[in-house]
Symmetry: C2
Subunit: 197 residues, 2 copies
């Protein structure tokens, strides 16, 4: 049917990174995960759609963004070995506030909410995996709030570079700017060493 060894490898990665899965559970997961390879620019989700999928990025990168009075604001970046989903839609079964766009050609493991619910019921260790993934995400968001609030623009940018030094090579500055809560112009000035005090 599909590239099963690659799916297996991706599942292994997830287990290693977050919480190990029993062989039985991993096998069940393999049955319901799909491997996608998609072009740069693909929109996985659009605003207003119901999205009951979560995506694990095997290679490439993606962003979640929303439109705020017409302006495109990036809310989340997912690089290889990270998850991305339209969280409001995925967890609350509500119309998505977000778009999800691929910023590079990518391979993704796609898993449906329904599969996750079924596997969580059946396997205690899958339930745990879910808890741990969500916990890490929560901690990340908390750190992001600290960084956004009260840090001047330069510091926010430096903080981001510390976590992801390669981001400027992979993501247009506009998206980085909106992610940091600053304008493209400000980001451009910050990056110009002449403007450093």
């Amino acid at each position: 049917m599909q590239a099963l060894p690659e799916i297996e490898a991706a599942i292994q990665l997830i287990g290693d990174q977050y919480s190990p899965l029993s062989p039985h559970c991993a096998a069940d997961l393999k049955q319901c995960a799909r491997l996608l390879h998609l072009d740069k620019g693909t929109l996985l989700v659009r605003e207003g759609q119901l999205s009951n999928k979560t995506y694990f990025v095997v290679t490439g990168c993606a962003r979640a963004f929303y439109l705020k009075s017409g302006k495109d604001i990036t809310d989340w970046f997912a690089f290889e070995h990270a998850f991305v989903s339209a969280i409001h839609s995925f967890f609350l079964n509500a119309p998505s506030q977000h778009f999800i766009e691929l910023l590079e050609p990518a391979r993704l493991l796609e898993i449906s909410r329904e599969s996750i619910a079924r596997l969580s019921d059946k396997h205690h260790d899958f339930e745990r995996l879910g808890r741990i993934i969500v916990t890490k995400t929560m901690l990340q968001l908390q750190q992001r709030i600290v960084s956004i609030q009260f840090e001047p623009a330069q510091q926010k940018y430096d903080n981001l570079l510390a976590i992801r030094p390669d981001i400027t090579q992979r993501v247009p500055l506009t998206h980085i700017a909106s992610y940091l809560g600053i304008t493209l112009e400000t980001l451009s000035r910050i990056r110009n060493p002449k403007n450093r005090i």
Copy 2:
């Protein structure tokens, strides 16, 4: 030993609000949860301490805050029927970045990380409860990021009031201001109807 019926009632509240627990699991939880009643102003956790406890607020309210170059910045409010913990310390077993302070006399259910780990191993439904609590918290944080970033001060304040209309009666304005990422002076001006455009 303790006010067991009150502990039971608190556990019932948690189950109702997040994810139901089997009687067996609820009974196990009852064994390891402690009910505290503490005065306003009590510090549950101080910066630098290891905190391996999480607290469910039965009545009263608490805040988590940190010091950023000497300034007191509120990061989280927990009113009745919500959880509060020094998340960085609790989940990563690292020294706390936060203080936790009671803003009103409070009754709290205290549960240790170790108990949670044990109960999560033993009871699939407890593991699920944990996943769901963390998921809701994650969604809250995500909403907060959206609200913090790009909203002007007035809007951020209005958003908070929409969620917690009584907050100004219960919490000093300084804490609300730092939570919103604005100064006390700005908050004061915003609240003064004369300054509305």
